[in-house]
């Protein structure tokens, strides 16, 4: 079915003459065949947003309706790849087109020729249904790619190939479902705007450990949870997103750079292959999928990119993996939505964003979750969305609507960032609604004292801010000694625990055990000193300079050396306690 362009305005075109067109159909627009999607039907005309640069497009050029909604290709080869917002592989485009991206480039998302080693896990005459595994492929050093029966398919296996090397389009198995034959291949497709189904959503009870102390200790995110990271520019959103992509203990990371800087994607591409996963010691790139639609790439593809990313995340979840998705930044996605809405001359809602912004955000974050899968296994998608509020003011619509649908809020603070306190997560404003649900896990897996330790440390930080307000009025000297001690210990927590240097080889990642030891020793110091202060000793005469130095160095101490470092701190503490008491 061919139509004709009758209007062009930026990335929005109006097409006439597509008789069977349906909402959300993918179109190929113009003589160059630019990828686009129908976003509105109006009488005989279809209005489409174009995912490529429309410069040079003319009225009257032909438009082809593919008859299918915008979809992503799923199969082995996703891991380690970098795609644009509509899943064109950027490395292949570079080989074909050079360093700059032109428009109208057609490339298959997945390599058709590459052979993958397939190991069958099912046999002939076996009854299988959607979600069941029929075989696996070693996709990377870390990931076993499961070939599963697609949604809506079931039947008896009539034929399945033997172990061997196959390309993604070769038939691996034939199912007979009540006379209806279905051929199963590695390659499947899925429309990006629909969530892939699961059997049942499960409660979030396991933390997604990130190796970042302020997050794991105070504001944890659960496996299958959702978090929002709003912050002004320069507050370190991207560094946090990168840190989570590097160190979180998800099996697979999908990193979606939406409308952000090109050099940030380059940084991932150049550092990830050299970084080692702390659990397996394998290169991080072997568990990472990158989606890059940088700020200068076409705006409509930016809108599509987060759907492409989450569909890929769901696909790996369906194999039983825990997947973490970082979207940096969802504000750019919302702005793309606003721009397109403006071109459609829709009635604007708040700050020019379309009225359906909240619904779209809700739909997106709802695709996160830990779930019982169709095949019976469990898997999860955790979503961490960076938000870039104008002027850092989170009263704007994107931040507010995001906070309503996410359960963790890491509030990035410009004044912390300005004094180079990183990660600049404000410990007084941030929250995690998972804390209580996760306490049980921490209690069993980290230490019985953990929930208590965490609460006491947080209480000290809260108290510090109260005391500081008083100190501003009366001066530090007029404070009671007990309060001075709180300030002293809170400073240690802030400087030696909450702060973490993403660029230091050791400090960049703290195991939960290391976090436990560090927090424990800081609170021990508080207990010991509190006893001394209660006994009449003045804070300024506490002989703790050496201990403070030793605690400050724990951040930079290797995991295997922590034990001995702690032991010497304890000895030192006992010595002082004795000496000063006596």
């Amino acid at each position: 079915m061919e139509g004709r362009i009758i209007s062009i305005s930026g990335s929005v075109v109006i097409v006439n003459g597509l008789n069977d067109a349906k909402m959300n159909d993918m179109l190929l627009v113009g003589d160059r065949g630019l990828v686009s999607e129908i976003i509105k039907m109006d009488g005989e005309n279809a209005i489409a947003q174009v995912y490529e640069d429309t410069t040079g497009l003319k009225l009257g050029e032909k438009v082809i309706d593919t008859g299918a909604p915008l979809s992503v290709e799923l199969g082995p080869g996703l891991i380690g790849s970098i795609f644009d917002g509509v899943q064109r592989p950027l490395d292949v485009i570079m080989k074909k087109e050079g360093q700059f991206i032109g428009s109208g480039v057609r490339v298959d998302p997945l390599d058709r020729k590459r052979k993958w080693h397939f190991k069958p896990k099912a046999s002939s005459d076996q009854e299988v249904e959607e979600g069941d595994e029929i075989g696996e492929i070693k996709e990377s050093s870390l990931i076993k790619h499961k070939v599963i029966v697609p949604v809506g398919v079931k039947g008896k296996i009539k034929k399945i190939v033997e172990e061997g090397d196959y390309s993604i389009e070769e038939v691996l198995a034939v199912l007979d479902g009540g006379g209806k034959k279905t051929e199963l291949k590695m390659l499947t497709k899925w429309p990006v705007r629909s969530a892939r189904p699961v059997a049942e959503k499960l409660p979030p009870v396991i933390p997604l450990l990130t190796g970042q102390r302020v997050i794991d200790t105070f504001f944890p995110i659960a496996i299958g949870g959702s978090a929002a990271v709003p912050g002004p520019f320069g507050a370190g959103k991207t560094v946090i997103s990168h840190q989570l992509a590097k160190w979180s203990d998800a099996d697979i990371v999908v990193y979606c750079g939406t409308g952000e800087r090109g050099n940030e994607m380059t940084e991932i591409l150049s550092t990830f292959p050299d970084l080692k996963d702390p659990k397996s010691g394998k290169p991080l790139m072997d568990r990472t999928v990158l989606i890059a639609n940088t700020s200068n790439m076409p705006v409509a593809a930016r809108e599509a990119s987060i759907y492409t990313a989450i569909t890929i995340a769901e696909y790996y979840r369906d194999m039983g993996y825990n997947v973490a998705l970082m979207a940096d930044s969802t504000s750019r996605w919302a702005e793309a939505l606003r721009e397109i809405s403006g071109r459609l001359e829709e009635m604007p809602g708040e700050e020019g964003y379309p009225a359906y912004l909240a619904r779209r955000l809700g739909e997106f974050y709802e695709r996160a979750g830990r779930a019982k899968l169709l095949g019976g296994k469990t898997g999860s998608v955790s979503v961490i969305g960076a938000v870039s509020p104008p002027g850092g003011d989170i009263s704007e619509p994107v931040s507010q609507n995001t906070l309503r649908v996410t359960r963790v809020f890491w509030a990035l603070d410009a004044s912390l960032a300005n004094s180079r306190h990183f990660p600049s997560i404000n410990w007084l404003n941030s929250y995690s609604l998972y804390t209580d649900e996760l306490d049980d896990w921490y209690y069993k897996n980290v230490g019985k004292d953990w929930p208590d330790l965490r609460k006491r440390a947080m209480a000290l930080l809260q108290k510090e801010s109260d005391i500081n307000e008083i100190a501003q009025l009366v001066g530090y000297d007029a404070l009671p000694e007990n309060d001075k001690l709180v300030l002293d210990i809170a400073k240690i927590i802030r400087e030696d625990y909450l702060q973490q240097n993403a660029f230091d080889e050791i400090d960049t990642y703290s195991s939960i055990e290391k976090q436990h030891s560090m927090l424990d020793v800081i609170m021990k110091l508080y207990d010991v000193e509190k006893q001394l202060v209660d006994g009449g000793i003045v804070v300024s005469t506490l002989e703790n300079a050496d201990i403070k130095q030793m605690i400050a160095r724990l951040r930079y101490t290797k995991e295997e050396d922590i034990k001995s470092a702690l032991a010497s701190i304890r000895t030192e503490m006992n010595k002082i306690a004795k000496a000063q008491r006596g």
């Binding site: 009225l59 380059t266 300005n418």
Partner: protein
């Protein structure tokens, strides 16, 4: 190709032309508009449908009418003719000579909108550029291929700083082909002359291509100018393998022009009347900085903008800060105190600093030292504001040291002469010297081995 002339102009506004019944126009195409008196003005297709085509006019619409004005479509988008003849020239906002020389003709034409760089084809910028300015080199290191804007306010010496950077910027121990592309967007003629004089004095002029649109010239040209400048820069960087530094002054004028055209098109305005797509539009300029795999050249951008009423949350600096890789922020208070360059370090940031510093490029202690200076200066400024409430006598011994540190830091470290070109080693040593005002035990950001090796504390 025989050119068809259309005489179907329906509406003329300040900056737009609505033409009826054009079937041939393509989106983004360049058109020539001929007035009755023979004057020819350029325009560009903003949108087109079967009834009406909207043209944005680069230049004056005064004198246009709906009967005699003729429109011809060029069949292509705006292109700049590039070649070695461009070097040393001063052109206007449409790429025509303004230095009295002959127009530049070349076989090679480049679309001024460029194409987005494939993120996969980028090479991570990591080469340190020494600007000789301590607050940049040590605290907000600039690297080749970075886009680092200067956020200034009216009346602050941003032009001086930009000129000083151009004069001093170099990579230590390297002599390579280095060019400057200067884009003056809606600046006044005094500023334009200042830059031209400075470039001539420092000898940079013969390595400069300048595009200048003065404040009194058509504002729509300001939307074209940065794209011309970057097209010229791309030619030098990716074809001539040169290292190019692009100075764009003042991006605020660019954004004003963008707002003007958006208002004329009756678009739904975003914050403060600026169009909702301003982020994307600015990104299409700033993202044209960088390095490419397999190419030796680079484009480093230093755009300059004035923050309306010194407000960093104003949409122009705000959106810019979200796109660029950091920012250098000017402080009116430092300027009043006679500090030059008046760089507000706490608000400034270079995101690519980590890649450009360290053992192999500057010195191993650089990052630690700069983190510590940042923390100490932040603390010192905090103490200073506390002093205003409680008085200096109420300060603890340690707080007093921080106060002294931040005073000295501003006077000796941030402050330097317009002609002073500090080597990175000098800058770093100066930082260590100032740190020795403070207690060694407070140096939590610095690895112990660096404290021993570079610290300037007197042995107790």
């Amino acid at each position: 190709m025989a050119k068809i002339e259309y005489k179907t102009v329906k509406t003329v506004t300040n900056v737009l032309l609505f033409v009826n019944g054009i079937k041939e126009a393509s989106y983004g195409e360049l058109a020539e508009i001929e007035l009755e008196d023979g004057r020819v003005v350029n325009g560009q297709v903003l949108s087109t449908n079967e009834e009406v085509t909207v043209l944005q006019v680069f230049g004056e619409t005064s004198g246009m009418d709906t009967e005699r004005t003729k429109v011809r479509f060029s069949g292509s988008t705006f292109k700049l003719q590039t070649g070695p003849e461009l070097i040393g020239r001063v052109l206007d906002g449409m790429g025509k000579p303004r230095d009295g020389g002959v127009p530049v003709y070349s076989d090679q034409k480049r679309d001024i909108n460029g194409s987005p760089i494939n993120p996969y084809a980028r090479e991570e910028p990591s080469e340190f550029i020494q600007t000789g300015i301590s607050s940049i080199d040590c605290m907000n290191t600039l690297v080749r291929g970075q886009k680092l804007p200067i956020f200034s306010g009216s009346g602050l010496p941003h032009n001086k700083l930009a000129a000083q950077i151009v004069r001093q910027a170099k990579i230590p121990s390297k002599k390579e082909n280095f060019y400057v592309v200067f884009g003056g967007i809606g600046i006044n003629s005094e500023d334009a002359n200042f830059f031209m004089d400075e470039f001539k004095k420092s000898g940079a002029m013969e390595r400069t291509i300048a595009f200048i649109n003065l404040a009194a010239e058509p504002s729509m040209e300001r939307l074209i100018l940065p794209r011309l400048a970057l097209t010229a820069a791309e030619y030098l960087a990716f074809e001539k393998d040169a290292h190019v530094i692009v100075i764009l002054v003042d991006m605020t004028n660019y954004c004003e022009a963008l707002r003007e055209i958006s208002a004329a098109r009756e678009e739904v305005p975003g914050r403060r009347g600026y169009p909702g797509y301003m982020y994307t539009d600015l990104a299409s300029i700033f993202e044209r900085a960088g390095k490419l795999k397999g190419k030796p050249g680079s484009i480093t951008q230093m755009p300059m903008l004035t923050m309306p009423s010194d407000d960093i949350t104003h949409p122009i600096p705000d959106l810019t800060g979200y796109i660029t890789e950091g920012q250098i922020v000017m402080s009116r208070q430092l300027d009043k105190n006679g500090i030059y360059p008046p760089i507000d370090l706490l608000l400034s940031l270079s995101r690519l600093m980590n890649q450009g510093v360290g053992k192999d490029s500057t010195r191993e202690d650089h990052k630690n030292l700069s983190d510590q200076l940042y923390a100490a200066y932040a603390k010192g400024k905090q103490v200073r504001s506390l002093t205003e409430i409680v008085g200096e006598d109420a300060l603890s011994e340690s707080d007093r040291k921080y106060l002294r540190f931040s005073d000295e830091f501003e006077k000796k470290f941030i402050n330097q002469d317009f002609s002073e070109n500090r080597k990175i080693e000098e800058t770093l040593d100066l930082g260590w010297e100032l740190l020795s005002i403070l207690d060694k035990s407070d140096m939590k950001r610095i690895k112990p081995e660096f404290l021993e090796k570079y610290g300037k504390w007197k042995q107790a």
